[in-house]
């Protein structure tokens, strides 16, 4: 049994806002305070500290084929960023694309205990699971990309509305089960397939070959399927036109199309740009934040830009090709048959670059303008907008408007003409930080045992020493506890326990419909019988129930 004592507990899920109280952990769970002092209790004296639930990351790119393509393509990212092995940890390297072990240690060192890989094409799902298993300490899961999937688009091309909804629901369940994934991911719906046909960027109502379905139908169809299956996490959407000035139009239109449905919009910073008269970037954050504010059924994460090196990697292959043309630097691409694409391009964001400065402001504007912290989450879309190791600094930016002001001074001065960040005075409270980094994320993920410290919650706890400098405070926790074991002490990993894979309990989903199975057998390069990920890749997977 472990007792965390004397700390000020911030557990927004249970409306505990900085009260000094003990947290008792036993058998991997938070337990009630025992009536009598137990014999074998270890105590962490958290006097002068804040006690948070373990951090929950709902959108990051840490495992799978495109992440590894990024690692392999960029040795220059690793050479000066390495960690030697210790008695408890393995060696690793990489700054924006760390090795799997280092990824686990670095997340844990920030107080995170749960992690989701945000984009896995079904065909390479085994690969993602192999890497997730090599990420120590954290519980992990992944999302399956479906927004350009041929079987999905074929089903959606059915003019019979009821039939197509029912068939799509079965297909989504089958795909999730086959990939042992946690949620439905949509990436640039229709846009990746369009690119394979040399088509340009798609709008909400562009008919996409070869099935003639529109992004609107893909979005609304998949959102409805996720809802009707009662998946713990709603459809997780990367919208069309990522990174393009003026994309606020398609963003707002997509939100309009999904109104009334649960939906999570990811890295919204990249989707909130007005176009200036010269076609350059201006902030569209106020309009987008307002739309989120008005729709309680929506959540989002921000994808905050971090100045310095980044590695962009997404299933949005056409977007990566466009990025590649900015610098004509290296570019990796992989079209994935019948499903998706993938691209990787290294990047460097600079505060003097007006575009990057605007993007940086847009992210913070969204965080500050969206009023409900339960519906906006802190991410960097790691490593697209920057590496997750920048979280402590971003927390400080949110909590400390003086610090924000200092940073604004370092930006390209023209940025004030195109954004409103300098007008925003809001400062996040510790409770709000706890919400946007764990409580809210766990809630929208439907993880009832994560992101809070009530009795029955997983014994995942992060203890930070109170300091005026919030960046230093959140960069080196005094302790991190995972599953009841102390894994980090004073910012260093002291035990590398294994995390567990997270999945959803879909029961026994119906088999793939005969016509889809035939289509698959005809055109895939693998046999249907060899497609589904075996149990061996997700040993002891924790299955979260659905609520249809």
């Amino acid at each position: 049994m472990l007792r965390v004592t004397n700390g000020r507990v911030h557990d927004p899920g249970n409306a505990v806002a900085g009260e000094v109280r003990d947290v008792w952990l036993d058998g991997g769970k938070v337990v009630a305070e025992p009536a009598a002092e137990p014999a074998d209790v270890a105590t962490l004296d958290a006097a002068g500290c804040v006690v948070f639930p373990g951090g929950v990351e709902l959108h990051s790119h840490v495992a799978g084929s495109k992440v590894n393509a990024g690692r392999i393509m960029c040795p220059e990212d690793h050479v000066d960023h390495y960690r030697c092995r210790t008695d408890v940890t393995r060696a690793g390297c990489g700054h924006t694309v760390p090795t799997t072990y280092l990824t686990g240690y670095e997340y844990a060192r920030l107080g995170y205990t749960t992690l989701f890989e945000a984009a896995v094409p079904p065909l390479t799902a085994r690969h993602a699971h192999e890497e997730l298993r090599d990420i120590p300490i954290l519980d992990t899961g992944c999302y399956t990309v479906m927004g350009n999937n041929h079987l999905v688009m074929k089903v959606l091309s059915d003019p019979d509305e009821e039939r197509r909804a029912a068939r799509l629901r079965d297909l989504v369940a089958w795909l999730l089960h086959a990939t042992r994934a946690y949620a439905v991911k949509i990436v640039n719906p229709g846009g990746v397939e369009s690119w394979k046909w040399h088509g340009g960027p798609v709008d909400l109502d562009t008919s996409v070959p070869p099935y003639g379905v529109t992004p609107r139908r893909i979005l609304t169809g998949l959102a409805a399927a996720a809802d009707e299956l009662g998946l713990p996490h709603p459809v997780h959407v990367h919208l069309n036109h990522l990174g393009v000035p003026g994309n606020v139009a398609v963003t707002l239109a997509s939100m309009q199309a999904l109104a009334g449905r649960r939906a999570h919009f990811t890295h919204l910073q990249f989707h909130s740009y007005e176009a200036t008269r010269s076609g350059s970037y201006a902030s569209g954050a106020p309009a987008v934040a307002e739309s989120i504010n008005q729709h309680p059924e929506f959540t989002c994460d921000v994808g905050q830009l971090v100045f310095g090196p980044a590695t962009t990697m997404t299933s949005d292959a056409p977007m990566e090709f466009r990025l590649h043309h900015l610098h004509k630097d290296k570019w990796a691409n992989s079209d994935i048959e019948m499903e998706s694409g993938a691209g990787v391009v290294p990047m460097r964001y600079s505060p003097r670059q007006l575009v990057n400065a605007v993007q940086w402001c847009v992210g913070l504007e969204l965080m500050l303008l969206i009023r409900d912290p339960w519906r906006v989450f802190l991410t960097t879309d790691h490593p697209n907008a920057g590496p997750f190791v920048a979280y402590p600094m971003i927390v400080r930016l949110l909590m400390d408007r003086e610090f924000r002001r200092e940073w604004l001074e370092k930006l390209n001065p023209r940025v004030r003409r195109f954004t409103t960040l300098h007008e925003l005075d809001r400062e996040y409270t510790l409770d709000e930080i706890a919400t946007v980094t764990r409580a809210g994320q766990a809630r929208v993920l439907g993880l009832a045992d994560k992101g809070h410290l009530g009795v029955g919650a997983d014994a995942d706890v992060a203890v930070y020493r109170e300091q005026g400098d919030r960046e230093r405070m959140f960069a080196a926790p005094a302790w991190v506890v995972k599953g009841g074991e102390v894994v980090v002490r004073d910012g260093e990993v002291v035990a590398a326990v294994d995390g567990r894979p997270l999945g959803v309990d879909l029961g026994d989903p119906p088999p793939l419909a005969a016509d889809l199975a035939e289509q698959f057998e005809s055109y895939s390069s693998v046999r249907l019988a060899n497609y589904a990920v075996e149990d061996a890749y997700v040993p002891d997977q924790v299955l979260i129930p659905c609520a249809p």
Binding site: N68, M73, H78, G92, L123, R126, I336, Y523, S525
Partner: protein
């Protein structure tokens, strides 16, 4: 692998080749001998979703230094001089982009008249979805990884006009899987050194041939390869001069001289695991029969644990 670190590589899975590729260029490879089911499954006769006519729906070009059964079955065979991959890829880049070149119209490049390359450049741009499948004739030609880098640059630039991809025709078991696992565990796909307690990378310096040539290793563990058959004679001699531990299911040219041979269960027959196809698609290989011997993984694990607890 090395070339990928300079220019990246635009590629696709084999199912995309099957379903979409209307131009297939076999460059320095002979799949009809080396990857026997490749053409029937993915790249020539197979009917794809958007290539319903199969072989008739694809234009197939073979570039090689000598006629092979693959070149014989192609629509066009371009026979090049050995050692000219880099020059021809460079020329194609210029022709595709319409750049001014410094040679006369009647000149030859790689022993092939310029007009042939012009026609190929036009065919590449006219394709809807083209792929170059390249093999040892590219990677083992003069220039080695620079040839792949140049092909990578060509492929990348063609994407300004149409979809165009490259796929290495890799052989030798699960070499792709080895690259992937090394990639996620160490950050680098090959040639990793741990002398300092963390991974470092430098092909040539930390790869097998260089290390052996400079006699920089004093012991070796050898897994899933037969150096006696695949390495040059002086490398084999260097290995024979040091203690070696060899994990291998079969008797071969190395088992005779390795210091310690540990028989293991053959992967994919008597041991299960993940096989990464040449296009990086991970497949499950199953255990079909029982073997009295442990798997590679079990042997390595027990060596590691013995050392840790020594």
């Amino acid at each position: 692998m090395i070339a990928r670190q300079q220019v990246g590589l635009a590629t696709c899975t084999l199912g995309e080749v099957k379903n979409r590729a209307d131009l297939v260029i076999f460059w320095g490879c002979n799949p009809r001998e080396s990857h026997q089911r490749h053409q029937a499954r993915y790249s020539a006769s197979v009917k794809g979703q958007f290539i319903p006519e199969g072989r008739k729906g694809r234009r197939i070009v073979a570039i090689d230094v000598r006629p092979t059964s693959t070149t014989a079955a192609a629509d066009q065979f371009i026979q090049v001089e050995p050692g000219s991959t880099f020059e021809t890829a460079t020329l194609l880049r210029a022709l595709v982009a319409g750049k001014r070149i410094g040679i006369e119209e009647d000149a030859k490049v790689g022993g092939v008249p310029l007009h042939v390359w012009r026609e190929l450049a036009e065919a590449i741009k006219a394709a809807d979805y083209g792929v170059i499948l390249f093999g040892l004739g590219v990677t083992h030609d003069r220039g080695h990884d620079l040839n792949v880098e140049e092909l990578g640059a060509l492929i990348r630039e063609v994407n300004d006009y149409t979809r165009f991809y490259g796929l290495p025709m890799r052989g030798h078991g699960n070499v792709t899987g080895s690259n992937q696992v090394m990639g996620w565990q160490t950050g680098y796909p090959i040639a990793v050194n741990f002398n300092r307690g963390y991974p470092r990378y430098n092909p040539g310096e930390f790869s097998v041939l260089g290390l052996l040539a400079r006699e920089e290793v004093d012991a070796a563990i050898i897994i899933a390869t037969d150096p006696g058959a695949h390495l040059p004679g002086d490398s084999v001699a260097a290995l024979q001069a040091i203690p070696t531990i060899y994990l291998e299911p079969h008797v071969n040219t190395t088992t005779g001289w390795a210091t310690v041979v540990i028989p293991v269960a053959p992967a994919g027959v008597a041991a299960e695991g993940t096989f990464y196809r040449m296009d990086n698609v991970p497949l499950r290989v199953r255990k079909l029969v029982d073997s009295p011997f442990p798997s590679d993984e079990e042997v390595l694990r027990s060596i590691k644990e013995t050392i840790l607890h020594a």
